[in-house]
Symmetry: C2
Subunit: 358 residues, 2 copies
Amino acid sequence: MIERPNGGKRITQAWDYLVIATGAIPIRPNVPGIGAEGIYEVTTLEDAIALRKVLEERKAKRAAIIGGSYIGIEMAEALLRWDLEIVLIDMLPQVMGTLDPDMAKLLADAIAKEGVSLYLGEKLTGFDTTGKQLNAVVTDKREIPADIAILGIGIRPNTALAKSAGIPLGIKDAIVVDSRCKTQVDGVWAAGDCAQSHHLVSGKPTWIALGTVANKQGRVAGLNVAGNDVNFPGVVGTAISRFVETEFARTGLSEHELEGLGIDFVSAKITGHTLARYFPGTQPITVKLLAEKKTGRLLGGQIVGGLGSAKRIDILATALQAGLAVEDLVNLDLGYSPPFSPTWDPIHIAARQLLKVV
Amino acid sequence: MIERPNGGKRITQAWDYLVIATGAIPIRPNVPGIGAEGIYEVTTLEDAIALRKVLEERKAKRAAIIGGSYIGIEMAEALLRWDLEIVLIDMLPQVMGTLDPDMAKLLADAIAKEGVSLYLGEKLTGFDTTGKQLNAVVTDKREIPADIAILGIGIRPNTALAKSAGIPLGIKDAIVVDSRCKTQVDGVWAAGDCAQSHHLVSGKPTWIALGTVANKQGRVAGLNVAGNDVNFPGVVGTAISRFVETEFARTGLSEHELEGLGIDFVSAKITGHTLARYFPGTQPITVKLLAEKKTGRLLGGQIVGGLGSAKRIDILATALQAGLAVEDLVNLDLGYSPPFSPTWDPIHIAARQLLKVV
């Protein structure tokens, strides 16, 4: 829903430079019952306010979340504060499709441990309703009784306008831009969730709709339109989130992505401690690294662990951006003192493990 | 004091490869009164046990810490738990000589705020005693009454043995080793606090006595002695610690070091938030970056801030190791979500600021 401050009137505005920053829109599945009361998106503040009102009025006893990615998992955490039965449904056989299955399993276990029922590998087919009221979420495998349902099944670039204007679209219908955020049409620029990016690890176009990427593209588009010459080199696919006290993050390419690209890779996974083993507050952390088989070039990394785990992904993101190899990681001069890290950081330990198989 | 399990007997042991890993020893100032009771080092467990006993018996009311670097600051934090007047004395006009003065000031303010009295720019000249008992610490500016004194004025490589054996010493009398941790004498290797390292930013030898460097050198020396061919490329000078809830870290070269090397540099400093501004637990963080004036190559970085600040030094350490420039930092694909970072990480914000003056 796009708000129109001028009441929806058509206006005509001449321009020298046009920046398209129309963002993304949530995917709304076209299934029976989708119009029922009790089905919420969490895209706008209004959505959240409406949902919160229902929770505060204690009208709902059973909540179903459809989508086991960032939004679904964050909503599962938020709903834990209310006295509800919570189920999380995803069509993939794992939560967080951007993690490797083994790492996603660690996260799924943490989610289940908090009492959230997971229905993975189940596709939403519709909603069962009585009149306008939601009764159950229907998957290809079962009916799951629910008083409210929350949709978090993803977003897509909001590029209908760009498309109708003849601006070339690329991957997943995101607008094709060069490293200066210029589209293939003179004078027209694009930035943010509506535009694609260059993936620095795969060397191919990608579409990653995250605020941090959008901000960087916005800066570059803005500077260039204002007469500068600035490049946005691209992304490495970093993302981070948490569920209660389990943090998770990923960067680079996953096994699935590497297989799709036909890249020969090796991986290593270790479980260690976030802090010195004896230090109060130390938490388990699992680090998985992926590298190119012959060259040892780092290709990706994933982290799942307790509080203080996931921001280490930045080390790997920086290493990917710089094109470092596993052997470089072993010798990174990372900050060590007992309240911050073991002497060998878990990143080091994973790199040493990976070095054995490169 | 080196413990001799065999009771100090001389033994003769033939060797094919010799690894010298004799570590470092604390500097003990040769000043009047140094032998008094109540003066502690904190090098061995025995030191700490003896000190703790005095504290537990409530025999001390006034504690003086000599040395405002890692050990001194960590001891100041430890002593806060006891009902004591605490003073911290350093001959430098700042705490933490490896930080730039402006960053060290932030840390000093945090230390003073907890009630520790700082006497900076004052040189220890001796200890005033009655019989064997300590009365006061004497500096070149005043007498400071103290029941106990803790020495944390630094360490030096423990290389007397190596020197007497004719093994060449280098910077600060640390043993000269190549990138394989071999000394200049055939068959003799050295690793850890007794050995020097290569500084990847200055390109010169350096001596950094930290457990994390020692571990990496030990790995490389051990692998090479065992017939492998492994290199330790060097260090970038990363260090991290905290005082109560103020974290601090540094990497690369400081202003003082850059001036000594005659490198033309620019710097930028920003204060931001560790997490999204609105997120519970967000803390102030100050990031300072230093870069080469013409090339924009990152030369160093320092962080002082609340909990969750300092481990970001690893981003800068990785960037230094990879030889990244400030512009690369601006576009790093760092992990963002509100519980972990603002959309623009403080590292990004500092890099953007620095980009304006490179």
